[in-house]
Every structure is written in structure tokens, then in C-alpha cells.
């Protein structure tokens, strides 16, 4: 892995050199409205995948727009592929990026916390006492956690004894340390909240990465127990197939999954005795990775935008504009969208956040220039890696018809589980799994570059 990491670092440098060698405008070759004198002011709140993409593309497409990005942290850590950090397959620094790339595009980056938004006066106020007037406000605040939903849990416990690591960073490293310290024969519990939650396949990929670590680090008798508040999950047949083949699955295997119907939902935790309590049972763990329920980040929630189940922000399909507040757009994990009636909601993924950001940008550029709104298209690609040579994905495509999101089944779906026919299934050749494990890394490098470089 270290050799691979060194090579990747080199490749990144050569890539940047190649980009610099090509002349700016021609390589970007996006219709450029440099001469447009709209001088519109856009404030973007939140510098994750969604917010960074929105800020960058606004400047790329119309350099006359005044773009301010407000973000607490000075460095971003990608949640996608952070499960590989827990198993030691990846260094956390390969997931980290700063905001210099955005500065280069002329984005004003302010490291501060938004304390108030006045949608009537269109002013954003920060903890640092600064005020920012806007013509359009893009909120990409991610999620905030509801610790009170699990009795006995708290933010303080999450930072010390019971990490959720559902925002990549210090807790990811803490969880890794706890895994390393776990004795052989120990139990690693992953408690999954009721959906929708950030990164639908994340808990199950994490189970595989934890099992991968145990298998090759003298913990073959370890148990990874998933206690789930749901009765199904993303890419389920692909995960179950891989778990079974790689780590053993079920009561006798290394990985075990307990659905909500089987009393899997954790309602209480006792940090002292390291016990998770469900409706009727209790489970002691050596490591407890408790992912609490979460909701739209508080900037959006405090504004009253989280109208969907009091958790997520509803937006307009053609523009991602809030259905509650004019000129405020909500993207990324904080929003809800997609074909809800058929249970085909937008997955809360980095890729989705970025395509939503691009929809907002295309819409705003047209609006500022007095042009008709472009027809949006929403895509998602999400890889899960269960072993260094075993990955798979799900892709999604949504279009907007008659003002509604339409899930396009033909352009969506998971990697094949089997080949052959239903009656005579054949195993999928291993090269497919290997390719998608490799593509996951290529995807990561590209989304980081597309959003932040």
C-alpha cells in the first residue's frame, strides 16, 4: 500500500503539471461568460463536496459572480472511502484537501461559522461577526447528529468512547485505534440508524473493512455485529455475497446482520458496561460504533427549511431551490429529492451532492443572465470496497419531467450479483469486482479534483 500511495502522490503531481501546461480556458472548455457583468453575489455555506463544487463551478462558468464560501474547517476530509482508514488500507491524508484550489478560481473562502441567516434582508451573519449580503444562498451544510435519540449517548461519548465516525476525521482514527486494541474473539458492534441516512451503503462497507482488518491481523475469531434499525439496505445482495465469500456471514461467520424486524434497532447505550440495548435484548461489545440518527445541518434546520419529516430540506426539482425560501438552495445530504413515491429518493452521497451543485450553478448562471433555465439531470455513482480487490457500485439517473423528478431505471442499478440466467446463475468473474475496487480510488481522486482543485 505504501508504494501505491507514493505512486499516487507522484501521479497527482504530474497530473497537476499537465493541467498547468494546458492553457486554462481551452482545457476547461466550458462556455464562459467572463464578460457578463452580472456581479451577482452568491454565498455558499459548507465546504464539503457539494459546497466546494457549487463555488468552483459558479466561478468557472461566470467569473463576474462574486462567490463567498463559508466553512468552519481549513481542511476537508472525505467521508467516501474513509472506511478504508479504519482497516488501515488507506492513509487519512489521501482523503484530505484544503481550499487553496478554490481561491485560485477566485472564490472568497471564509473560515467561520454561520450563526444567522436573514432570508428577508438576504444577509448571512457569522460567529466572527461578519455579514455577507447575497442574491442567492447555497446551503450545503451536511448533517448534524441527534445524540438524544439514543438514550445514554452524547456528543462527548462520540468523541471519546463510542465514536460514530460518520463524519470523517478524528473519530475515524479513534475507531481505528479501538479496532486495533480489540482482542481476538472480541465483538465490534455497528449500530445503524433508521434511514434515510448519509451514505446508505456505508455501515455495511465498514463491516467488511473491519472484518478485513481482523482476518489479516490475528483476530480471526472476532465478530462484527451490525445492529440495524432497518429491514434492508443498499447493495444488500452484493454485500451478503462478498461477506459470505470473504469473511463468513451469519451466526457462524465473522459478520452478522440483525434487522429491525429481528430486534436490531438500538435505543439505549451504556458506555460503562459497553452495552447496546434494543427493544428486547442487550449486546455487549468490545468496540461500539454507534451511528446516531441525523438530520439536515443546523444552518438549514434553524431556518425552518427541514420540512420533510422535520429532518430534511425539500427543494424544487428543476433548480434545488428550497420550497420554503426563495433564493435559498439546499444541496447534499441535507436535502431530500428524487422519486419519493417509488422509494427512489436521492441517495445521500458525495457524487449526488456534486451533481446537485452543478444543477444549482447552471440554474443560477441562466437566471443571472436573464436566460431560460436549463434542463437539469441528476446522476450518482457510488462505489463500495469490501476488500482491496473486491468492489462494486450503484449508479442512479434522475431526470425532471413536468416539474417532477423521474427515476430512470434504465440508467440506474447495482453491479451484477450473478451472470447467466435466473434459473442457471453463474458467478460474476472476479475481474469485475477487482475493476470496481480500482475504480473506487480513481473516482475518489476525480471527485476531489472536480470539487476542490
Amino acid at each position: 500500500m505504501s508504494e501505491e500511495t507514493a505512486m499516487n502522490a507522484f501521479d497527482r503531481r504530474t497530473f497537476i503539471k499537465a493541467l498547468a501546461a494546458a492553457s486554462g480556458a481551452s482545457i476547461l472548455s466550458i462556455p464562459n461568460a467572463h464578460a457578463a457583468k452580472t456581479r451577482a453575489r452568491v454565498v455558499v455555506v459548507g465546504g464539503g463536496y457539494g459546497g466546494a463544487t457549487a463555488a468552483k463551478y459558479l466561478r468557472l462558468l461566470d467569473a463576474s459572480i462574486d462567490v463567498t464560501l463559508i466553512e468552519r474547517e481549513t481542511r476537508y476530509t472525505s467521508c467516501p472511502l474513509s472506511n478504508e482508514v479504519i482497516s488501515g488500507e488507506r492513509e487519512i491524508k489521501t482523503l484530505q484537501v484544503g481550499y487553496k484550489g478554490l481561491l485560485k478560481h477566485g472564490v472568497k473562502v471564509v473560515h467561520d461559522e454561520v450563526t444567522e441567516v436573514d432570508p428577508a434582508k438576504k444577509i448571512v451573519t457569522t460567529a466572527g461577526g461578519k455579514h455577507f449580503a447575497y442574491d442567492a444562498l447555497v446551503l450545503s451544510p451536511g448533517v448534524d447528529f441527534n445524540y438524544a435519540a439514543v438514550e445514554g449517548y452524547s456528543e462527548q461519548l462520540a468523541q471519546t468512547k463510542l465514536p460514530h465516525a460518520w463524519k470523517a476525521g478524528p473519530q475515524t482514527l479513534l475507531l481505528k485505534k479501538q479496532l486495533q486494541a480489540m482482542p481476538d474473539g472480541g465483538k465490534f458492534i455497528i449500530a445503524v440508524p433508521k434511514g434515510p441516512f448519509r451514505c446508505p451503503p456505508g455501515p455495511y462497507e465498514r463491516a467488511a473493512q473491519v472484518a478485513l482488518y481482523c482476518k489479516y491481523h490475528g483476530k480471526k475469531k472476532a465478530k462484527v455485529l451490525i445492529l440495524d434499525a432497518n429491514d434492508s439496505f443498499s447493495k444488500k445482495p452484493l454485500f451478503e455475497q462478498a461477506w459470505k465469500e470473504l469473511y463468513g456471514y451469519g451466526p457462524d461467520g465473522m459478520i452478522e446482520w440483525t434487522s429491525a424486524a429481528n430486534d436490531g434497532a438500538v435505543t439505549r447505550v451504556d458506555a460503562e458496561s459497553m452495552t447496546c440495548f434494543t427493544g428486547f435484548g442487550d449486546h455487549k461489545g468490545d468496540v461500539i460504533n454507534l451511528i446516531p440518527p441525523h438530520h439536515a445541518g443546523k444552518v438549514a434546520k434553524n431556518l425552518g427549511l427541514a420540512t420533510f419529516k422535520d429532518k430534511w430540506c425539500e427543494v424544487k426539482p428543476e433548480s434545488m431551490e428550497s420550497t420554503k425560501q426563495k433564493d435559498i438552495y439546499v444541496i447534499g445530504d441535507a436535502c431530500v429529492g428524487g422519486e419519493l413515491a417509488t422509494n427512489n429518493a436521492f441517495p445521500k452521497s458525495a457524487h449526488m451532492a456534486m451533481t446537485q451543485a452543478k444543477v444549482v450553478v447552471a440554474n443560477l448562471i441562466a437566471k443571472f443572465n436573464g436566460l431560460p433555465p436549463p434542463v437539469p439531470v441528476y446522476t450518482n455513482t457510488c462505489y463500495s470496497v469490501v476488500a482491496p480487490d473486491w468492489g462494486f457500485s450503484v449508479v442512479h439517473l434522475y431526470r425532471v419531467e413536468n416539474g417532477q423528478w423521474v427515476y430512470i431505471k434504465a440508467g440506474s442499478g447495482i453491479s451484477p450479483v450473478t451472470f447467466g440466467t435466473k434459473e442457471a446463475p453463474l458467478p460474476v468473474p472476479r475481474i469485475y469486482r477487482k475493476l470496481e475496487a480500482e475504480y473506487a480510488d480513481g473516482w475518489l481522486r476525480n471527485v476531489l479534483a472536480d470539487a476542490f482543485a
Binding site: F10, T14, S29, I30, K358, G411, G413, W443
Partner: protein
């Protein structure tokens, strides 16, 4: 009016230009994995900006109609109309091909030169910079991606339609694969 603004105005001006704008919107979703301008930043993902239009078109249509295997792309393109595929191919073919010359070793280059002279040069050119609809440029394409592609051609589980590529790649020894990929990956403009 400066050139940029004119281009934008023209884009949005007429009804027929709306379709062109939609392709820009659609093409931007490709950037997530293939980079802005189709210049990939990930070693396992190919750069696609500046590749021959007919090559891009053919490959996407072969995926769409299950004439060519893929791990991911075959699912993605099935949601696009043939017209969209044509427009995406045109869009990316108009970009500039930007090789990302990668580091290699003298030994790999030496071996790569002889392997590619024997097996690749006729169609791809000595430096991989002689493209046509069947054989895209591969100078400065990611070596990792090309290694994976060659493995696809050599694997019976993969449906790859190009007879000659299949035949030639299967003549190679395992050690020839990285040598050929790194040789072309190291080539510049």
C-alpha cells in the same frame, strides 16, 4: 461583446441551441469521474477529452446495447438516448487531448518499446499518438487504466468486441502488460 459572452448568448439564443446547453449540463456530470475537460485525475479512470468522436460514440453505444462489457459504464450509459450519446461524444472529442506523462523506469521503457513495437504500433502509432475511431490516442493516458483495460481484453469473462485487440493482447506475456502500459503512459504530446 467579448468572445466568451457571445458564445454564451449564442448557446441560449435559439430553441435549437437549448439542446446544446443541455449537453453541457449532462457532460458536466461526466466530470465527476473523468475530470474537468475530460482530463482524469484518477489513475484507474481514463482521460476522455480529445479522444476521437467515433471511438467515444462506438464504445458508449456498444455498452448501451451490451455488445461490450464494462464494470460500471454499461449501466450508466443505458439511461442516455442515442442522441445524447452522440452529443456527448462530439462534446468530449472537441476538447484538447492532454497527456499526463507518468514516471516510469528505464527497464520498463526498454521492454515497453519492444513489446509495443511488436504488438501496438501498427494501430496506435509508435508513441500512441496516432488516433482513429478504432484506436484512440494513448500517449499520456493513465498507465493504471491501460493495465486494467488490457486485463479485460485478456479475460474470457469480458465481452470485448475488438478482434484484433483481443488477439494481440492475448499474445502478450503477463510481464508485457505493465511494460506496454507504462511505455505509452510516459509519452507526452
Amino acid at each position: 461583446m467579448r468572445k466568451g459572452a457571445m458564445a454564451v448568448a449564442l448557446f441560449w439564443a435559439a430553441g435549437s441551441a437549448m439542446a446544446a446547453m443541455d449537453i453541457e449540463v449532462l457532460a458536466r456530470t461526466c466530470n465527476n469521474c473523468h475530470g474537468v475537460g475530460g482530463i482524469s485525475a484518477g489513475t484507474s479512470m481514463p482521460s476522455i477529452g480529445g479522444l476521437p468522436r467515433d471511438y467515444l460514440k462506438n464504445v458508449m453505444k456498444q455498452w448501451k446495447y451490451d455488445e461490450r462489457g464494462a464494470a460500471t459504464m454499461n449501466r450508466i450509459v443505458k439511461g442516455f438516448s442515442d442522441d445524447e450519446i452522440d452529443a456527448l461524444a462530439t462534446h468530449f472529442s472537441k476538447k484538447r487531448w492532454v497527456p499526463v506523462p507518468q514516471k516510469t523506469t528505464a527497464a520498463l521503457m526498454k521492454k515497453g518499446k519492444s513489446v509495443t513495437f511488436e504488438n501496438c504500433e501498427d494501430c496506435h502509432g509508435a508513441k500512441g499518438d496516432d488516433p482513429d475511431e478504432d484506436a484512440p490516442m494513448i500517449n499520456g493516458q493513465w498507465a493504471k487504466y491501460m493495465t486494467l483495460e488490457l486485463e479485460k481484453y485478456r479475460d474470457d469473462g469480458f465481452k470485448m468486441p475488438h478482434r484484433k485487440m483481443k488477439k494481440n493482447t492475448r499474445k502478450l506475456k503477463q510481464a508485457d502488460i505493465p511494460a506496454a502500459a507504462h511505455f505509452f503512459g510516459a509519452q507526452g504530446q
